[in-house]
Point group: C2
Chain length 508, copies 2
């Protein structure tokens, strides 16, 4: 029987012992490069150093060690091509069927050092050449480039008596090219000094969606495989399955609910919050969020930051919603919710907030921006008028401005006791946004007073006038208008508490 060989060259030596043990169990011989060979031998496994076969000692401080025609011929020759077999035999070199390589940690070095010579040394040439050769020849050669794949590799060897199959080899080959692609994009960005705008979707799994925003547009969801599970991994009841618009709304719901620690409910419709409320009791949070605009809430998406029990489940199912997102649904709640055929349930427990960049496609390119991650707190607002106000009002102002961050511009959010009572979204003029928000108020709500948040400054005095007329007691807005002084004067004269926020919260 022909002798089989695996070539191992790993920067990160973690868990390599298990690989060695498995390979040797299946009579696969190990060849390793410099420090990997030393480590494997020390760990008690038999292995050849690569230069035993190449007769070429590594030079230039390791810059050249595996860039050798015999090694690459061994990896690259077609196992069923007579000419290839003949040419390879002449080299008198072991046949390498398995390549286990992880490259120099370029990114890590770049993160921890500013010494460009050190960083350059971490540009792996030989390692990537080995990976690419092996991945090219995936019909015959298995390539492992990631420690996370060791288990699957070991399992498949154990199940198949020391062999892998084409599916596995192909999957691993695709991973290689994803990794090398990302690796080189990082290097390119480093050379051109583009540090913080590394954007890539190569390490993503592309999943076809039924369609995009509209049925005539095809669409994909690109899942980031390098991260923890995300909402689309935690669907516990699928209904008709997530649509493009569902995913967009879930993401908005998720962003908004994450602003709040108290029991809170967020209802999203057409990518805008149409009701948000915090309350000691999560069921009241839901009831209050729904009350803001129960007509608009029809068919919307609900996010809750507390577990769903049968009481909330009953309340929710007396209305029509498409999706419920919560940390957990208890069994009694599931019984109730499962009766709604098309309802989608998502458990968010494991969800990480990991989006750092916003990207938008435009003609001729893309717009990238840092995400708006401001956690708005009391010290970010400054009282501009001479009015005494209660702690409750302060809390309501913070709540309203937090909600405002998630409403499309121009946005006006009216709040009473940590519940939205009117939301004016997506308007070309601020006064229209104000009017829309006010149109949601009941007579009682107007009578009892409320606070108001504006995502950007009021350009004129008209907004504050109409708010006052409806009995608004406090306002938060960023500064910046040439009419700021007039607005402050008006607030003082009319005993309205006016706060300037440190931040503007445009969202389009």
């Amino acid at each position: 029987m022909k002798k089989k060989y695996a070539l191992i060259s790993v920067f990160n030596k973690e868990k390599i012992e298990k690989i060695c043990q498995t390979l040797l169990n299946h009579n696969i011989n190990i060849i390793a490069t410099g420090s990997t060979a030393t480590y494997i031998k020390k760990s008690g496994y038999k292995c050849y150093s690569i230069n035993y076969f190449t007769k070429f000692k590594e030079i230039l401080d390791g810059r050249v060690k595996t860039l050798h025609p015999n090694i690459h011929a061994s990896i690259l020759f077609k196992r069923k091509n007579k000419k290839h077999i003949k040419e390879f035999k002449k080299l008198n070199f072991p046949e390498i069927d398995f390549v286990i390589v992880n490259p120099y940690p370029f990114q890590e070095m770049q993160n921890k050092s500013s010494d460009s010579n050190k960083i350059i040394e971490m540009i792996d040439i030989g390692g990537l050449a080995l990976l690419r050769s092996a991945a090219k020849n995936f019909h015959y050669v298995s390539t492992i480039c990631n420690i996370n794949d060791y288990k699957e590799f070991i399992d498949i060897l154990n199940k198949n008596n020391g062999k892998t199959n084409l599916n596995f080899r192909k999957k691993m080959a695709a991973k290689v090219f994803e990794i090398t692609s990302n690796y080189d994009s990082m290097i390119g960005n480093w050379i051109t000094n583009n540090k913080n705008n590394n954007f890539k979707i190569f390490s993503h799994k592309k999943v076809s969606l039924r369609y995009g925003e509209n049925p005539h547009q095809s669409a994909f969801l690109c899942k980031d495989l390098t991260r923890e599970p995300i909402f689309y991994d935690n669907i516990i009841k699928t209904g008709k399955g997530l649509s493009y618009n569902n995913i967009l709304d879930i993401d908005s719901a998720y962003e908004c609910i994450n602003e709040f620690k108290e029991p809170t409910c967020v209802i999203i419709k057409h990518n805008n919050p149409c009701g948000v409320a915090s309350n000691k009791n999560i069921i009241n949070a839901f009831i209050n969020a729904l009350k803001t605009d129960s007509d608009s809430a029809f068919g919307g998406i609900i996010a809750l930051n507390r577990n769903v029990d049968h009481n909330i489940a009953k309340k929710i199912t007396s209305n029509f919603f498409e999706i419920i997102i919560a940390p957990k649904f208890n069994n009694k709640a599931k019984v109730i919710l499962n009766k709604k055929k098309n309802l989608i349930l998502i458990e968010t427990k494991k969800i990480l907030k990991n989006k750092k960049l916003d990207i938008k496609s435009i003609n001729g390119g893309y717009l990238l921006q840092q995400k708006n991650t401001i956690n708005f707190v009391k010290k970010d607002m400054r009282l501009m008028s001479n009015v005494k106000i209660s702690n409750t009002i302060i809390k309501d102002l913070i709540f309203s401005f937090k909600v405002c961050k998630h409403v499309k511009s121009n946005a006006i959010v009216l709040v009473k006791n940590k519940k939205t009572i009117g939301i004016g979204a997506g308007q070309m003029s601020r006064i229209d946004a104000t009017k829309i928000a006010l149109s949601k108020l009941s007579k009682k709500e107007k009578k009892n007073g409320f606070v108001s948040a504006s995502d950007a400054f009021f350009p004129f005095i008209d907004n504050i006038k109409i708010l006052l007329k409806n009995n608004c007691v406090a306002i938060i807005q960023p500064k910046g208008s040439i009419n700021d002084d007039k607005i402050i004067e008006f607030a003082n004269k009319n005993n309205i508490a006016l706060f300037f926020s440190k931040y503007r919260f445009f969202k389009h």
Copy 2:
């Protein structure tokens, strides 16, 4: 003096003669691989074949030819490191300071062949290894990976007596890693069968913007360098310079204006059209677009599809706008517009519509969709009620639905004689969008009748009721509601022309 060498290995041999001539002019010797050497010799230039130095003949049908330690040592050794110099001298190999390589055309083969064996042969291993080695050692080695860079390379050699400089070498090295990154992403996508959703921004020039949607968010514009000039290349008056929000609005204005062939004006505010009008006369188009909602238009962005003369310029400057986009501004117009210090002017003549994919970032990944490129025409609408209607009404319905495509959902657009008279945008409920649009109508406009477009179906009869009450004569909407029949019945009973559109036009 030390002999200098360039290594050439090009799949595409175009224009390589000029490179050879220049290298030889500067006493740089040429080494080339297999077919490149043959080609160069045939073209009458002196060159060495690589195996003259390596003593290694290419094998495996060319799969292994330059993966040789001496070649890579020659490229990779540090020119100022004594140990490296000593080790390299021992190899007795020429010193390669220039590497000119273009890789196998993987993408092209993938496009033209479905034979996976042929495609696999086009996965370049050796070429990319040469490029990556040379680019890693950019302190000393020049790497040319793209025919488009030959001219700059030749110029710099001629200017500097056969040498390049660090800036040039660094720039070319960055290009190498961009190209290898893209190359490997294509391979990865091919292996995993992801053909049509290749998305990358590596071939983009990243330009810092002042900030993103808000001052606390950093932002970049990524210009696609592979395409024709785009709006940001045609700014003829810069004002304060384009902001992130400006660019987003310009893109929307541009998308919307491209719907229309007649003289048309679009005004954008907060990423929504707040007035659109077509007219035989472009100045009337502007006047009519402005009339829709002149309050909201304040500080907006105007796009026109006809040249701007001094008459329109005068009209426009009597209001406050941030940006004007037009195919051309004549000299008299420029004199008038240049007086407005902060106004930005963009000539759009050369602009290509080239965005094919929409991308949105979400937590844990991205959403990609085909752009909504439907050119809505008469055959895409079907009359559902038994009402006779004029050609003018039909034209207005098409106009209104085209505008609707560019208004954020829920969207309602009211039109009379190819001018918008009310736009309801970005609402969580359709009835609110309808009310907002209606609120923009003058008494006269209500009296004279108008048509209405809805980007998605009316869920209930309430919208059509309120439209009729305000004297709406025709409606266009997609079908799809469980109440469709009731809505048709209501339209028939009340003599309102109801059309169903073939397409839905959600936009979020």
